[in-house]
């Protein structure tokens, strides 16, 4: 989707068949046949399905069972475990918030106390850790902020100190982002950290008229230069940093970060060849804007609503 490509019908149906085999009867998706359902694989499956366009693929999701799965992962303090008796961290809340929104099954009850628990992960540095007390980290900070936006609970956090922390995660020398203070640059943080800026723009713009709509509050040029010059593997795909091997994770998140850096609220910034421009990604879900609510609308109303151009 980011590259403007469409997966052909027959491939989409094969993907649908695969997801059918790894969907758990009690709800959620597993890593493979016979595994336990897990929030991360459920997030990956639902995001992937939402990125396709055939309604036959959308129909594979067992929504009532999914709702039940999310409820069993939800703890009284508002947190979510990743799987039955599994690890508990802020990714769980993000995965649950995203899949419930994309499938149109989200309720307030499903997320009772979650906003408060997520907010309690904010550290003295301004970013968020995996659980209360742990070190502020890009991946978990993204999960936290996106979740709070989906739950409409951003008033619970210190936005100014979050912004300050995020700004300081961009490396002055490399131009890319680090995950934590005093750690190394990594291409994947192009999205986890870069993606914070459109989200912060959204929640700060009610308080401040000083926010430019033409640029985010980080150097979009420097980030793009890092991705394009340093993160491309010679035979295709993208990487953490020069010398590292390519993998799907870094390919996804470097390209997603590239999208964030190219698309300001009301402007485009493209380094190098104009063909470097990728599709705009939705900063909460990280699926392309044109797909962001297409599946939910279909699952709730039964109708496909085609967006002309990109969504808002």
């Amino acid at each position: 989707n980011l590259l403007g490509e469409r997966i052909p019908d027959n491939q989409q149906l094969k993907i649908r068949d695969f997801f059918s085999t790894v969907q758990c009867s009690t709800g959620g998706f597993c890593g493979n046949v016979g595994h336990l359902p897990h929030l991360a694989t459920t997030y990956a499956a639902v995001s992937a399905i939402a990125s396709l366009d055939l309604t036959e693929v959308y129909d594979v999701i067992d929504r009532p069972a999914l709702a039940s799965f999310l409820s069993t992962m939800h703890k009284p303090d508002g947190s979510f475990t990743m799987h039955h008796d599994g690890e508990l961290d802020v990714r769980g809340a993000y995965c649950a918030a995203v899949v419930s929104t994309l499938t149109g099954i989200k309720t307030d009850e499903m997320f009772e106390n979650t906003g408060r628990w997520v907010a309690s992960c904010q550290t003295y540095e301004g970013g968020f850790g995996s659980r209360p007390g742990t070190e502020a980290h890009g991946g978990y900070t993204f999960c936290a902020l996106a979740t709070l936006i989906l739950l409409n609970k951003t008033h619970l956090i210190d936005k100014d100190r979050l912004l300050d922390w995020a700004v300081h995660r961009q490396m002055v020398f490399e131009g890319g982002f680090q995950g934590r203070t005093n750690k190394l640059v990594d291409g994947c943080y192009s999205f986890w950290q870069g993606g914070l800026f459109p989200l912060l723009h959204h929640i700060l713009s009610t308080d401040h008229s000083g926010l430019s709509s033409k640029t985010w509050l980080f150097s979009q040029v420097s980030l793009q230069d890092y991705i394009l010059f340093c993160c491309q593997y010679p035979s295709g795909g993208l990487v953490d940093k020069p010398g590292k091997s390519r993998d799907y994770y870094h390919t996804c998140y470097c390209l997603s970060g590239l999208s964030i850096s190219q698309h300001s609220f009301s402007d485009q910034v493209v380094r190098g060849d104009p063909n470097n421009l990728v599709e705009p990604t939705h900063p909460v879900f990280n699926i392309v804007l044109s797909k962001a609510d297409r599946m939910a609308k279909y699952l709730v109303t039964g109708k496909v609503v085609e967006e002309v151009g990109s969504g808002g």
Partner: protein, 159 residues
């Protein structure tokens, strides 16, 4: 406060934790995880009353003086102050540290940022903007953010 609720057995869990952090920081004062752990230990033992903050600021000041361009202790200092509902100007020794570094021409970007915030707290708005202009003298990836901070101050000035 939090002291009274902890029996000796609870304290035993935390004994040696601060020493452990000190050991880590002596090996590498840029070990941000160690600074984070120290914050966690204090939170779960004495808590953050003003005396504890003063003590921790004293501890942090030594590390700032050792390496003013190390971000970790700056985040620790401002984090413990603001994270516990205080203003930077409430802690004279810390303000003096920032002003001293500035007057000695030591241009830590973190020290400058904090000095700008101190001046803004004092409502010395023009002087706060001066510091953001110093920060912008060397173009960096932070420039859009400094522009935003200046714009926010201008909003305050026009109130």
């Amino acid at each position: 406060g939090i002291n009274a609720e902890y029996g000796v057995s609870q304290y035993k869990l935390w004994e040696g934790e601060l020493d452990f952090v000190e050991k880590l920081l002596q090996e590498d004062l840029r070990n941000n995880s160690a600074w984070n752990h120290r914050y966690f230990v204090v939170t779960n033992t004495t808590g953050w009353d003003k005396e504890v903050i003063e003590r921790e600021l004293e501890y942090t000041r030594a590390y700032i003086n050792k390496a003013p361009n190390n971000e970790s202790p700056w985040n620790y200092a401002t984090g413990m102050i603001k994270g516990n509902g205080h203003s930077l100007v409430d802690f004279k020794s810390f303000v003096e540290l920032c002003e001293d570094l500035y007057s000695r021409q030591i241009r830590s970007p973190f020290g400058l940022k904090v000095l700008a915030e101190i001046r803004e707290e004092r409502e010395d708005y023009a002087k706060a903007i001066d510091i953001y202009m110093v920060l912008k003298e060397t173009p960096t990836v932070r420039d859009r953010y400094w522009d935003y901070k200046v714009q926010c101050i201008r909003e305050l000035m026009s109130c």
